[in-house]
Symmetry: C2
Subunit: 586 residues, 2 copies
């Protein structure tokens, strides 16, 4: 087995043509076995086996530096740079993360997991090299799906300004997560169809030199192209035509569903775990599709992740022009939503919290200054969301809730979520964002109809005294448990509040609490700094009421255990009860 003998990239250079072919087969087999047990990004890596071999055959990593966009195509790179064990042996599977990581290997230069950043980061490495008068090759590897992101396009436009070595490998498998969207993909197709010869060429129009590789899964063609690009004295794009999921039939056939895969049976490709669990994505699509029948201006928007809103391929087809996937282009998505609302349409943009980070300025300028009634549904904004450091979703409250005019709502149950969504797409007064609760779907039992236009009126679930518990969104049920425990331990019922609104405080209610409460506590599913609880604390700053805020420390967590995070932030029921009793006594 050749893969077992690859301890560093120079070992790849010892192989001859036949051995390289064998190595590719071994890498695919290792990927297949690991991913069948462990899950991971499937399609992109299966397409990049040969290109990664060719890159390490031609270039001298880590002197020559490779930056893999978003990292979804970096598993093969990891295999060839001293990390093969994490793909060969089950006990080592978790030795590596799913992302590039400079702390893991000297062959990685950044921790990265958002799309469209590689060209700009590589430009930085190239500029540093030039300032230091050094000579190594800098290589960015970016998938076609990532090209539509503003940061990538800014990077491509800037690259020619360097006037020095920079090699941008465009891994074109003709797919984003789902199908691509955007005019530039027509140009990529023209380039593929013409063997790279079409005169009208996006990359050349951006000022870049250009090379095309017809079969991006042919190691020898790739080596030839990379040899040409090596040590070049200006930026060049090497456009390689690869096949997503190459070498595994189910993945070749259904490229959208095999972009990422959970554990599966190798023989059939069937998922090991089947989940019919109720979830907010499906619920959202179902609700919106019903409403779309009555309101022809209602339009769902996605930025490259259509299923976050529950819009699977069949549902997209069903609603036709009432669903828009803008491709990976979050900034555009928010501005588009604002424009649609300004034009009298009814837009709902669904997005993962970690990617909404791309849109602070669009939320502020395009949307909120104009006060346009668009709806944003923010998914995985929770400690129960994605746990990789590059995909954390719990920084959203400080980021977006402090933008004026925005109404940011925190439902606690599925009924409340639907009621808020229903209100939002009906009203015409405010830009609204809704924070989908984390953890499993909780039902409150009864359906809710409420006009949330009476801003910042919190809901008092239970009037009590001494302690008041203001429990936001996800952690409302925790707040409820704390309240019961306090009642049980002290014989005095505390007040329990569902604040509903993240973006404002209910001054009247908070003022009233002063009379019979010694302590107010807040619990939120986000970092404390700049968050919801601090607003309550500020309100009581000059009063005698004591306030304790529960939330997370401001820090980048990585692949964490939720229970541990809650415990270390004193957010278990027991810890909170203890703190409250410390103040109000038993």
């Amino acid at each position: 087995m050749y893969l077992e003998q690859i301890n560093q990239p120079s070992d790849v250079r010892k192989l001859n043509k036949e051995q390289r072919t064998e190595l590719a087969a071994e890498m695919r087999q290792a990927l297949l076995e690991k991913l069948s047990k462990h899950g991971g990004h499937f399609g992109p890596n299966f397409g990049m086996v040969e290109a990664t071999i060719a890159l390490h055959y031609v270039f001298d990593s880590p002197t020559d530096k490779m930056v893999y966009d978003i990292s979804h195509q970096s598993y093969c790179h990891k295999m060839l740079t001293g990390r093969k064990d994490a793909f060969l042996y089950e006990e080592n599977y978790d030795d590596v993360t799913g992302f590039s990581n400079q702390n893991e290997s000297e062959h990685d230069f950044f921790i990265l997991g958002h799309t469209s950043t590689s060209v700009s980061l590589a430009c930085g490495l190239a500029k540093a090299r030039d300032l230091k008068s050094e000579k190594e090759n800098i290589i960015a590897i970016i998938g076609d799906g990532s090209l539509s992101g503003g940061e990538a396009l800014e990077g491509l436009d800037f690259a020619p300004e360097l006037e020095s070595n920079l090699i941008i490998v465009v891994n074109d498998n003709d797919m984003s997560i789902a199908e691509n969207h955007g005019g530039l993909y027509r140009n990529l197709k023209q380039l593929r169809d013409s063997n790279g010869t079409t005169e009208c060429n996006l990359f050349k129009a951006m000022g870049l030199d250009y090379l095309f590789v017809k079969d991006g899964n042919d190691t020898e063609q790739l080596i030839e192209a990379f040899e040409k690009a090596k040590d070049i004295n200006h930026p060049i794009v090497v456009h390689i035509n690869t096949q997503k999921g190459k070498g595994y039939l189910p993945a070749e056939k259904d490229r959208e569903n095999w972009h990422y895969s959970g554990p599966f049976e190798i023989e059939t490709g069937k998922s090991v775990y089947s989940s019919n669990r109720e979830n907010y994505s499906d619920m959202t699509a179902e609700f919106l599709m019903e409403k779309m029948k009555e309101d022809k201006t209602l339009v769902a928007i996605s930025s490259g992740t259509p299923t976050v809103l529950g819009f699977t391929a069949d549902k997209r087809k069903e609603v036709g022009s009432q669903f828009v996937d803008v491709g990976i282009a979050e900034e555009h998505a928010v501005a588009l939503a604002s424009g649609i609302a300004a034009g009298g349409g009814n837009p709902v943009y669904g997005v993962y919290s970690t990617f909404l980070q791309r849109t602070y300025d669009q939320l502020s300028q395009d949307l909120c200054i104009n006060n346009n009634p668009a709806t944003i549904v923010n998914f995985a904004a929770s400690v129960y969301g994605m746990t990789d450091v590059t995909h954390l979703g719990f920084f959203d409250i400080p980021m977006i809730s402090n933008i004026p005019n925005l109404v940011y709502l925190a439902p606690t149950t599925k009924e409340e979520y639907i009621a808020m969504l229903d209100w939002s797409i009906t009203q015409k007064e405010h830009p609204v964002a809704i924070r989908v609760p984390g953890g499993g779907v909780i039902s409150g039992g009864e359906s809710i109809t409420r006009d949330y236009g009476n801003l910042n009126q919190y809901e008092v679930a239970q009037k009590g005294k001494k302690a008041a518990i203001v429990a936001l969104g996800t952690f409302y049920s925790l707040g409820k448990e704390v309240a019961s425990e306090i009642a049980e331990k002290t014989g005095v019922q505390p007040t329990l509040i569902n604040p509903l609104y993240i973006t404002g405080i209910d001054e009247k209610l908070l003022e009233e609490l002063k009379a019979e409460h010694e302590v107010v506590i807040t619990i939120e599913d986000g970092i404390l700094d700049g968050g919801f609880g601090e607003k309550i604390t500020r309100f009581y700053g000059a009063s005698d009421v004591k306030v304790i805020n529960y939330g997370f420390k401001k820090e980048f967590l990585d692949r964490y255990d939720v229970k541990e995070v809650l415990h270390k932030n004193r957010m278990t029921k027991e810890q909170i009860v203890e703190d409250i009793l410390d103040i109000i006594g038993n």
Copy 2:
């Protein structure tokens, strides 16, 4: 005079060719007179006179809808849409803002003032039109300088997906504020030089139809082109070659300095007010240029506003490759800086606070997760900054200071600013941002050397008791005045603290204050929600110490008076003293 008779766009359509020529001359004269007295965006508007006449001649606003990117080229549009008085009569000059504004006229559809948004917003109007099965023309007007912004590129890429009418007028005057930077500008030049016939065409490569107008200051050529584009059933770019500053010799000759102009003498073009006031921009360039001599990896970065860092054309020339203007591409600027730092270079990115809003995700993902030692200098992050609603700079603290790993510093004097900048470019541990103080430059008298690497150690300027005043950045001097007044009125010296760090609290110091202080107040030059003061308040939440936070209400202000804003937020010395005395007694 024809301009006097233009009360609505339909009045433009009554004019014949000669009359249109006369109208253009009158519009230039009116612009010249107003801007000579009032100041404003000069170059872009002088170049757009004929195109605006042609647009309103061909299209039927407001049924047909025009969106002017960034609004710097919208003055002529205002003149022809019922707002001529604001350009003809001095007493009416302030009747209009410098920006598009739907509250000002039915011919405007958005309040906008950041670059690169028009295409996406227009896509939204077009999508809403399509959903409503209507037929009007949607027109985006965007300058060449704005094309390099990620949001604009995302919009151009998405536009073809509409498959319906959208007209994108690219106003190409071959200039951003300063010269353009980016490979796409080479393509624009090829297109201009070939009369639009070059096969390799950025817009076509994005999937857009294309028309070229050789002389974008010839109304008749423009009318012909717009007539062709009118009612077209797919997105098209009309690329018009205009002359920035056209018709006023000083502006034609020095296009960078005449992009925007303060009041000037019409005969000579000389500025009416000459300012030799000390300022942070010049100070920064001077300091960096000195350091660049010793450190060849030190590189200053700008995103289209080079003079914010003090780098005028001559200084840019002097430092050569140690200055990089990435064009309008803030996201790229932050990622580039992170890449340079990762590669061992020493980047300093200077930016206006309002534009740093573009980079939340890049700050978080590209920079702070990687903990790379880049320096960001944030200008006009103050109530004393720009006062237009689209250019407010005082939302930065909630936005960026709650990102982990970032060290955000708030100097109070020029000596402190330089000491912080000096420390930042020397250290290799942290990404650092420095918040340039607002208002005039204040000197503390003596130069400072300090290792700011001991994070979150506040400076106690004066130990006292009963009240402690934590006064951040710009408002340190206000805090000092408050302290004096309290001492005078009560005979007891309060404690005065310069916190220096926005991103963390000095827990040890705050703990010590508990012993002899009844009240702690914080003063910051930013909104209260999610800001600095709330962190202090949270610290004291469960203690007996009372806290009052001073800062601004979360709201979009527009063209405000600073004194009024401070007064209504209870931020005058008198108000703060009154509040403190209420708690500690006289």
